[in-house]
Each structure stands twice: as C-alpha cells, then as structure tokens.
C-alpha cells in the first residue's frame, strides 16, 4: 500500500497513471513540484487557459441566474466573444435535451460527486448535469480545446468512462434517492469553438459493468504497486507536454502548443485548467 491515507482518485489522476505510471507517482503520491514549461509558446498556452477559465466562469454565472445580457465580454477578446456567442446560441438546443421544455429540466452546474471504489474514493467534478422530466441524466462538459478531438480519442479517455460511471453510482442524490439506470445516462462534450459538432456518448448496463470492473481493477493495481513499479511510459510522445521531462531525462524543450502533432494531448492541455481542485480556497489565514 503506497498511497497516502484517504487518497482520492479522479479521472485526471487515473488518466495520468494510464499515460505514465511514473508521472502519477511523482504528481500524486510524492507530490513533487517540477515547474518546467508544459507547452510552447508558454504565453499563448497561458492565455488560452485563462480564456477557457473565463468561459467556464461565464457559463456558471449564466446557469446560476445572472442574466446573460449582464455578462460582459470585451470585443477585444475575440475568441472568448465567439465562444460566448456560440454558447448563447445554444439556448434550448443542448444536445440530448433538444426537445425538452426548459421548465421540465433540472440543472446542476459545477457539481461534485464521489463514491467508494476499490477501497478508495473516486471523485468527479461536472460542468453541468441536466435531468429531464423523463428521467434522462445528461452530463455536459465544456471544451475550449484548440482542436476538436476525434471521437475515438474521446472515447478512450478516462473522463468518458469515469463521469457516467460515477453518475450511476452517486446520482441517486439528484433523483430523490431513486437509483440511476445506466441507460438513462449520456455524456456530451460540447466544443465552444465547434458549437454544431458536439460529441455524445450514450451509456448502458454493459458499459457500466465494464467500467466498474475496469476502474476497480485499475485502482487495485495502483494501490498494490511497489514504489519501484511506477515505471516510465514507453510512449515518448507523452513526455512532450509533461513538466517532469527533465527529471526523467526525456528531453529539454516543451512541445508546441499550436503544433499539428499530439492532437489529443493538446485538447487535454487546453482544458487542464478547469478542474475546480486547482482553484484554491481563500481563507483569512
């Protein structure tokens, strides 16, 4: 047992483990800071991340009741203005609930769910969950990626498995205690830069059982590893955007943020910021 007490798993750290066991060990078990640049040009990457964070905040404001016309975007922020216009044009036409009258929908923005899996807690932070009067539960994830990732790549991400799985496991808290049948759950990735091209993933009982077994196995595997068994990935491309690359002697310079390669990693990089875990609680302390 190498994990700290009360270790919490998330799609983010599980994905890191799948990508590179050593990265998981450094980042989550040993909690090592290694502040190298992740992507070049660093300023472009940073500005993109900040725009993404602002977009998420604006959507949260709108979903919390702030009138959309009072949520301002400076026209100079062209990208953000475009994303915001795209979001506003969605009104009432979210994929998966296109035909449902708004008054029959329940919105749960910025919700965190968790459940015990394999002797540990698994946690997910959702951008939005919508429940229809017919009992459908639709997960929405806003993506402000540089590129629109392919469906196959999305399907392979831990997020696409963890989010629906956890909603089935913990969603009874939203349904007045009624169990959530997997068939009622679906997940939609909505791309702010590609508003008419969302990606929808339906869910079902076999997928739930498969994910249950996979996630439990993965967590058991991680918790059973000895420190020396957290090995480096064989896929060197994973190191391109990893800040530990110099620690592992896997290169000196970060990959290009606007480059053509590593489509998926870029998509992830430009979305990394929005895990609410990264927003610190501000105390007068």
């Amino acid at each position: 047992m190498n994990l700290p007490d009360n270790f919490v798993f998330s799609q983010g750290n599980l994905q890191d483990y799948v990508d590179c066991k050593r990265r998981f060990q450094l980042r989550y078990i040993e909690r090592r800071s290694w502040p190298a640049i992740k992507a070049e040009p660093a300023l472009v990457h940073e500005e993109w991340m900040q725009l993404g964070a602002r977009f998420h905040r604006m959507v949260e404001q709108a979903l919390s009741g702030v009138p959309a016309e009072q949520i301002n975007v400076s026209p100079e922020d062209e990208k953000l203005s475009l994303w915001w216009r795209n979001y506003l044009s969605l009104h009432g036409k979210l994929t998966g609930i296109e035909n449902a009258p708004e008054e029959e929908l329940s919105f749960f923005p910025e919700l965190t769910l968790s459940a015990g899996v394999g002797g540990y807690r698994l946690l997910a932070k959702y951008d939005l969950i919508v429940i229809t009067s017919a009992g459908q539960l639709v997960i929405y994830d806003w993506k402000t990626s540089v590129k629109r990732p392919r469906r196959e790549w999305l399907a392979d991400r831990l997020q696409t498995r963890v989010y629906p799985y956890l909603l089935v496991r913990a969603g009874q808290t939203l349904t007045g205690g009624l169990p959530v049948p997997p068939e009622k759950v679906s997940m939609v990735y909505w791309f702010a830069g590609y508003p008419d091209d969302p990606e929808r993933f339906p869910y079902n009982q076999p997928a739930f059982e498969r994910d249950s077994s996979y996630l439990e196995g993965l967590i058991n595997e991680i918790s059973g590893l000895e420190p020396t068994q957290f090995t480096l990935t064989d896929v060197l491309q994973q190191c391109t955007y990893c800040q530990y690359r110099s620690l592992c002697d896997r290169g000196t310079r970060a990959g290009e943020f606007t480059g053509e390669e590593a489509e998926g990693t870029l998509a992830e990089l430009s979305d990394l910021l929005f895990d609410l875990d990264t927003i610190p609680e501000i105390g007068y302390d």
Partner: protein, 714 residues
Amino acid sequence: MLGKLITGLTTTQLEIIEGPPAGHIFLEGPAGCGKTTTGVERLARLLESGVRGDSLLVLVPQRALGKPYYDVLHTPGLAAGGLPDVVTIGGLARRMVELFWPLAAEKAGFAHPEAPPTFLTLETAQYYMAHLVRPKLAEGFFETVVIDRNRLYSQIIDNLNKAALNDFDHTEIGERLKSAWVGEISQLRVYDDAQQCANIFRQYCLEHNLLDFSLQVEIFYRLLWQAEPLCQQYLKRTYHHLIADNIEENPPVAHQILQDWLPDFDSALLIFDQQAGYRVFLGADPGQASELRRFCERQVLFSESFITNPSLKSLEEALQRVLQPEKNPALPASLETPGDPSLALSYSQARYYPQMLDDITDRIADLIAQGTPAGEIVVLAPFLSDSLRYSLTYRLEAAGIPARAYRPSRALRDEPATLCLLSLAAIAHPDWQMSPRKEDFTLTLLQALDGLDLVRARLLADSVYRLKEGKPVLESFAQLPASKRERITYRIGEVYDRLRDWLENAASGPVEPLDHFIARLFGELLSQPGFGFHADYKAAEVTANLIESVQKFRWVAGEPLQTEGIPLGREYLQMVQDGVIAATYVHSFQEVVAEAVFLSPAHTFLMQNRPVEYQFWLEIGSRNWFERISQPLTHPYVLSRRWEKGRSWTQSEEERTSRESMTHLVTGLIRRCRGQIHLGLSQLNEQGFESRGPLLHAFDRLLRNLPEIEGGPV
C-alpha cells in the same frame, strides 16, 4: 469506518449525530470535549441518511480547522453522492463575488465593471500599498513612527480588513482610532495618515478593478448578501444544512450572515468553543458568536473533557485563580476539581538558556525511550525565534529524535535557489541594470553547477564575471588561461559554458515574462544532468513557489507596469530586495504531520486543535505571553464592532485584555494536553537577560502552594 468512529461516543453526542436533519442546535463547551467529533460524525450521518452532499455547508474560520471534515469526506466507506462545501467566510465571499461580479461591479463603484475582477493576494496588496504610500512617506506621512516600512503597509491593509469584517465604513478607521487614544497627541496625526492611505488604496482598487480581502468581504456582505436577492436565493437554494465549527473564531460579518441565514437552513449545528477566541487580532468576535445561541431552538453544553485528566483540570483551575483573581473572588481556598495539580506539572531550572535546552532535550529523549511517540510531544514558546528553532532542532536531531519546527512562511529570497534564479535572470536582462554582486554570483554558480565547491566557485566567478558600463558580462571558459581552466576543471567549464550560452541566447531573444523565463531556465537547463537542480526536489519546490509568486504579481501588476514602461521583472526583483514582496510560501495545511516532536509558537499550536500527551513550555518569563505586538497604526479591540465609538482605551483596558488573552491561551493549551506539562525555566533568557513576566509570576504563586512538585520553587 463509521461504526468505528461511533464507538466511544456519549449519549448526548449520539443524540446530536443521529438526530433528524432538522432544527438548529447550538453546541458549546471547552476544548477537548468532543464538539468537533460530533460535528464530523453528524456530517457523515447526514450523508448516510440521504441528505444531498452538495446541500451541506461546513463553515470554518480557517482552512486548517476544516481538516477533520475533509478527512471524513475522503473516507472510502462514506455514502456515495455529492460533496459538501467546506469553506471559510473569506472563501465564500470570494466565490460569490466571482460568480455575481456582473451584478455587483458597477454598484461597488469599479471604473471598469465590464472587465473581470483581479483578486489581490496579501503579497500583491502589499505591493500596491507600498506603491501608493511611498510618495506619501516622502511628504512626511508617519514621520513619528519607527517601524519597518513593510509592517506599516501591512497595518494599513489590516485596518481595511478589520473595517470590512466588522462592517463599518473604511472611512471611519482614523476617527475610531483617534477617539480611543489617550497618549501623546502626535499619535493622532499618525491615525489621520493611516486613514488617508486607506482611502487612497481603496480608490486605486476601484479604479483598477483590484479586490483586496477587505473589498471582497465588503462587496459580498453589503452588495450581494444584503442587497442582491439573486445571491441570497442562490445560497439558500444551494445549501439546506449547515455545520459551523469554531464560530468563536469568526468575525462579526460571518455571525451576522449566520443569524440572517439560520431560519432558512433545514438543519444547523453551530459549534462554539468556550474561552477561546484566539483570532481576536484577526477580527474574531467570540462575544457575538455566543449570542447566536438565541437563534437556535436547542442549546447543548458539553463539559466533560475527553482529553485532560483530573490533575490537568485542577491545574487549569488553579492557574485561572492566580491569573484572574478578580473573576474568582468568592471561591473557597481549596480547588473545586478533585485532581492533584502537582501531578500535571513538572519543571526544570537552569541558569543559562542553553543548559535549559539541553535539559529539555534529555527529558524528551527519556519520554521517547519510555515509549512515547515523538508526535505526542510539543515544545511551545510565545514566539519561535530562528535561533531557538535551530538550537533545539539541532539538539533533538543530534539525540536521534525526529523534530519538526513550524515555519509560518519562509521568505523565498532567503533560499539559495531563489538567489540563483533571480541573479541569473538579472544577468540575462542587462537592461534592468540590477547586476548581482560578485559574492552573490559566486553563490549562484555554487547552486547552478553540479559538483562545484566554494573555492572553485570563487575562482570561476572572479575569472568570468565583470561589469561593463554597469551591465553584467560573462566571459567564456575558453578565454581563461590554461592554469585557471585546469584548477576549475574542464568538466565544470563545459557546464558553465552551457549556462553562459543559454543566458546569452535568452538575452538576445524576445523578452518574455519573468516567470516563464524562470520556468524555462529550470526545465531546459538547471534541472538537466550536470546542473545543480537536477533531481533536487527541494530546489524544484522553491522554484515552483517563486514562479507562482512572480506569476501572481504579473497578473495583477503587469498591465499598469507595461503602461508606465517599467519592466515587470526588474520591478519584481526590486520589490523582493526591498522586502515589499516577501515572496513567502506557506506549506499546505494538508501537509502530512510527521511523527516528530513539534516546535511551535503557542498560538499556532492552539489553532491546530490537536491534543498531545506532553507539552514543554519555554520562555515562561517572557512578557510575550501577555503583551500584544506593538502595532502603532491599528488596534484589534478598538477597531471592532463591540468597541463603543468615542470610548478611551486606557492602560487598565490594556492590562485586563492582556491578562484575559493570556488566561485563554494557557487554558487552551492545558485543555489540549493529555499527560503532563513541563516548564523549561532559565534564569537568563535567550538574550542573556533576566525576564520575569506575568506568567512566571503566576506560576511562582501557584508553585509555592505545590511543594511536592518536581523541581522545587521557581
């Protein structure tokens, strides 16, 4: 897990924990009687019973006090569902201001309500305060005040915070302070200056969309909570159950919000620690907190400590009698509590301070040899000086005892890695004209190049580093005479040349933000094999904290500096040198507590709320157990809602509050001890003087009546 936790709880605790999710309970009692345990178990039980996790709000006065709640939420056996929010009032204020900014910005008077807000950290607030106050100092502001400038800035910020937390207008600060003052008339001018600086700062914030802590609290309380129905609706729709722990450590605005909000909660558990209020200097108001009991249908008192033994309880009573005799005039001569206080106390005496430290070390070693875990021992002093920290840690480690000293924050500029990074940044930006001194460059090389010793570092620095027209220049290794190259070694020379080339490339390339420069320097060079930061986790942590500090500074001050044509990197370096930006970093409160003897200031240990078996109290003769820190620009009692405007703050008030807070402090410590307290006494203090403060006098009186105690009279 839950079953295990439930074991050992009292009937009253179980009654609260297992009660229905309805009704409002005010739970009070002294420290150590199971109040927080009840709160944590109540939280778990509410989740088990099907209450939606995200409808639960846990309010704590500081993040560290939320740890028991976080811990239970991470327990694998907890029911699946949503997660409660564990927040401070400051955290809630910031969250609401961010969320409802479009509705509040214009009303608050911000010049650019359409633009997003910029939240200031304490560090960046201090930067702006310095920026605005420095010209005023040149005009003669604060002429009579002899304190470090940075303390002056922080006290003006503190005044603004106190105004916001007590809900009075910031423009009243000066008048409130003046009306209570009874000393030298020149002090009144100081208060006027402090007021004017607070006004200038607030105005500047409004003009530039900057939100310091005070403005966040003020906007949340006055413009959102009190005046914006959407915000209240949002909060009331989101949260239906409340657990508010240590409410005595919260400020008046938090209490007012709780009072307003209570009727809307389906259930609420307010937890009040009697005789606490250790954060009064940060605006806490235990008096107002205790009044919240009137708004709860049920009041519960826990009085039995699960921590202290009868001897410690007697010691507490005996000490209270000597510390505050006026509060216990009619008590009988004998103690009411049945224990023997002499069993709870021991002490040792030495003439010199180092002898006392040796003795403490021996006693700790004995305890550990007898089976006491190191983590069950704390060494406490009113303040923990660097020399005490070093002297004791050194002794303990030499004795093979693991020790951990509390460091509230460590100035990054004191770290060798920071000196290295900032010196190299200055060399790569010759236009800043901030050339490192030769000695600093030597230390920089020592850090940057792996395997370099001080002698060779000096030789290399002397040989390659020079100033040309005030700008730093690095010569190449190849240009040195062969004899020098051999002495320095070719291996070092090769790595040095890589460093030089990298810096030259950086200097000739496009200008980039300082934090990006440092990250690149770290990743591309210093963390590579052959360089000093390679596989060095400590250096990496310092670098990460420095980058974060620069980044926050850039996000806040970058645009205005650019407008003025001032390079941000140069300004940052200048501010670090002046001590305005301390570039401090605070270790996360979630840091794993090592199995080690803990050395800490007494107040800090109290706020950890962690009982231990043995406490060692040092520097009992110090007046710092009793006196407030001198703060010529502010006042924690006068700048509070409870202080009647116009009433004078007299010496007797000072005496009374000091005695009261010392009593609370020692009572709080005793209540967090399971076994025994040991006093480490030395006739001469750390500085070589005799000190006989009020706490020593109190123990003197107490010990005269306890002749059988180990050690003899003080």
